[in-house]
Amino acid sequence: MDQQVIKRFLKRKVSVFGGLIIIMFILTAIFGPLVAPYDPLQQNLANSYKGISSDHLLGTDNLGRDTLSRLIYGARISLGISLASIGLALIIGVSLGVTAGYYGGRVDNLIMRFVDILLAFPGILLAIAIVAILGNGLVNTMIAVAIFSVPDFARIVRSSVISLKETEFIEACRAAGASDIRIITKHIIPNSLSPLIVQATLMLGTAILIASGLSFLGLGVQPPNPEWGAMLSQGRELLRSSPLVAIAPGAAITFVVLSFSLVGDGLRDALDPKLKN
């Protein structure tokens, strides 16, 4: 990323604000065990249904577990799922998109029809269908979210590969005898990075929404793991007695998703100023 892009990004204050929130959540996730006041799984029935106090800044749940500590550890799981699944989706999506765009013809048709079929499953439905096959749990949630995200990456990469492969510098590479793999890895993928970075940032937020949604439905990460969606699901039962058990993870999801979306928008404007105009 060159200086110009960074300068343009920093000019957009809301995106910088979103970036700071994301950094804060990432630091919380990394240093969770150091900053969390209690063990997130430790039950203490004598302490259940406690409100906000100096001992428990976000109160406790029905089992006396500290909500703040669970929220902090939850950041590790939720952000971890989001990063891992988007990483996986990037690898699969970029491979499919590059293959389809670069080779064209039947390969392109076959891959893109498959992508179309995945896109025909609206919203969370595809993730639910995958969980129905694989079963619930942390790893399967990641896989489900990754497969859910693959079509977007594949389509974006394919369209930039199609426009790139007809350019003169790629033709020059081909004329110089460069292999397909070299052209793809050294020239095509690096030149398709801008839209990919923007999409990946936006999808990190969506991944949290989908993973938490699955856990909320009981199909993702299972209790007592403090994943935000699973916490929200538990908080639903305690809405009357301890509303913070639901509000805290819900607000965390909202803030993180909002922040990724602000950063994604900012990156889009910074990487492609023409688009903004």
């Binding site: 025909a120 439905l217 909002l258």
Partner: protein, 306 residues
Amino acid sequence: MLRFIINRIFQVIPVLLGITILVFSMLHLIPGDPARTMVGIEASAEQIEQAREELGLNRPLHEQFFSFVGNAIKGDLGESIRTSLPVTEEILNRLPITINIAIGATIFATFFGMLFGIIAAINHNKFGDGLTMVISLLSVSTPSYFLGLLLMLVFSLHLGWLPTIGISTPIHYILPIVTLGAQAMGLIARMTRSGMLDVLRQDYIRTARAKGLPERVVIYIHAFKNALIPVVTVVGLRFGGLLAGTVLVESVFAVPGIGRFMVEAVLIRDYPVVQGTVLVVAVSFVLINLLVDIIYGLLDPRVRYT
């Protein structure tokens, strides 16, 4: 026009076929023996064999697929393992509730989305613009399952104005509809705003103003009508998405619709119900999009030639 419609229908057929193949494959992609997974690890060999028989797993794969497709076309989606009732009947019993919520959410999202979009556009770069855009940004980022709980907390538990769960009276629909429609409302508000801002810069709007037309006429008669075309498409396309979004909202408000039915089926591994509900929602989504495409082509002749 007829050629455009036939073209679109032909484009949809492979997608429908693909969905059917994927939904059919669900049962066969389950790691291990699906029959054993379904009846549980404590089941006897006899029970497993019976489950295999009921699911038709003993037959050759191609035979299973053709019978699945043939039956699905006839409206037969098999029997629920839990209730032994036909899946189609179970879905049809629940579908009206889900459709009502999705339609209600679409109307809510369209009305308030357009309203906020217009307010933002005519107050461009002023307080009204900022406020409506913050509301729309928040509504897009807030997960429906969190918004639902917040609304339930405020309007049901604290104020006591609305019921918490279930769907026995029309009032019960309010919270699920608002929860489901909020996200689409945010998107529609943003689209209406940018559409209106584009249109308001056009020459014919300047002409309308120069003619001395009142601002209200310029905004609502001249500008709004032309800003509407992309919004109509989004509204149509969102409807299909909202149908899937009911999965989460129905779970929040314990609404006995098709979404909750699907989730319960996944939890208890009632695979015929999972396959049936996924198929119905995905096919409906594709068909609704097809319909929107055709209507859009009827409304805007330019679309037909692209």
